[in-house]
């Protein structure tokens, strides 16, 4: 029986402590860069991913929309909800905000 693969990713340590804006053209560490270079490859190569958002200076809605909202558009809310786990020990209230963005984007998609 194949064992489920779970990958953990700590955004502050492995991507940046200073997440940027929406698109690559807007500067480094954008939501688009995170989604294309990190999130999608992790998502497609594992059964479950745990993204730890703890430790950054903070996130803007433009970064979150582009990084996570687009995931909802691509795969739908229920699939993303099964496969993605979010953590933010120092800012737990950002998590329901991200899920709301994924839900809205999946309905638009």
């Amino acid at each position: 029986m194949k064992q489920a693969t779970i990958k953990h990713y700590r955004l502050a340590e492995e991507f940046s402590s200073f997440p940027g804006g929406r698109l690559r053209k807007h500067g480094p560490y954008s939501g688009e860069e995170f989604r294309e270079d990190v999130l999608l490859p992790l998502y497609e190569s594992s059964d479950k991913i745990v993204i730890d958002l703890t430790g950054t200076v903070g996130y803007g809605a433009s970064f979150l929309d582009e990084a996570f909202g687009e995931l909802g558009k691509l795969f739908g809310f229920s699939e993303v909800h099964k496969k993605l786990e979010l953590r933010a020990d120092d800012d737990p209230d950002i998590i329901p905000m991200i899920w709301a963005k994924i839900k809205i984007a999946s309905e638009e998609g």
């Binding site: 940027g20 804006g21 500067g27 209230d93 905000m97």
Partner: protein
């Protein structure tokens, strides 16, 4: 025993019990009010801190969207605003717990304010500011004003 005198002890004991019970009740009522005062003060502090944070973010956001600056300065300002939002969410969490509100009490108004400030083109390059929606400042101020009103409604 002298005729007509009352048996000693009965009334004295009753009086003692009365003094003890009323003393204990006084202590308990005092503690109750002390805790209530502390809780009210904590809620009031929470409301004041959150209101100050919202005013602060609003000023920073207006400056961010109206003052022309180098991209690296813009990026530093956007990081600072993101940090202030993170602090605001933590202030709100403490306030919600001390005022015994529903966890989702400020969710929609908080998200609205957060989105009004930090949705695109926030965090983006200066060159894109030509596309900035002229109503953005109005949106930020309106969301901030509704947020402040919601905070003032919190019962102490």
């Amino acid at each position: 025993m002298v005729e007509g005198s009352q048996p000693c002890g009965g009334d004295g004991l009753l009086e003692l019990v009365f003094v003890l019970v009323s003393g204990l009740a006084g202590v308990l009522i005092g503690r109750f009010w002390q805790r209530k005062d502390q809780s009210s003060a904590q809620i009031m502090d929470g409301v004041q801190n959150a209101c100050a944070a919202i005013d602060d973010i609003t000023l920073d956001a207006i400056s961010y969207f109206t003052v022309v600056e180098q991209n690296d300065i813009k990026r530093s300002k956007s990081a600072l605003i993101n940090y202030k939002f993170k602090k605001l969410r933590n202030e709100l969490r403490i306030l919600v717990a001390s005022a015994k509100l529903d966890e989702q009490h400020f969710f929609h108004i908080n998200t609205r304010f957060f989105d009004s400030v930090t949705k695109s083109p926030f965090g983006d390059a200066l060159a894109d500011y030509g596309d900035l929606d002229g109503n953005r400042i109005d949106l930020i101020q309106s969301a901030a004003s509704d947020f402040l009103e919601a905070l003032r409604q919190v019962k102490r």
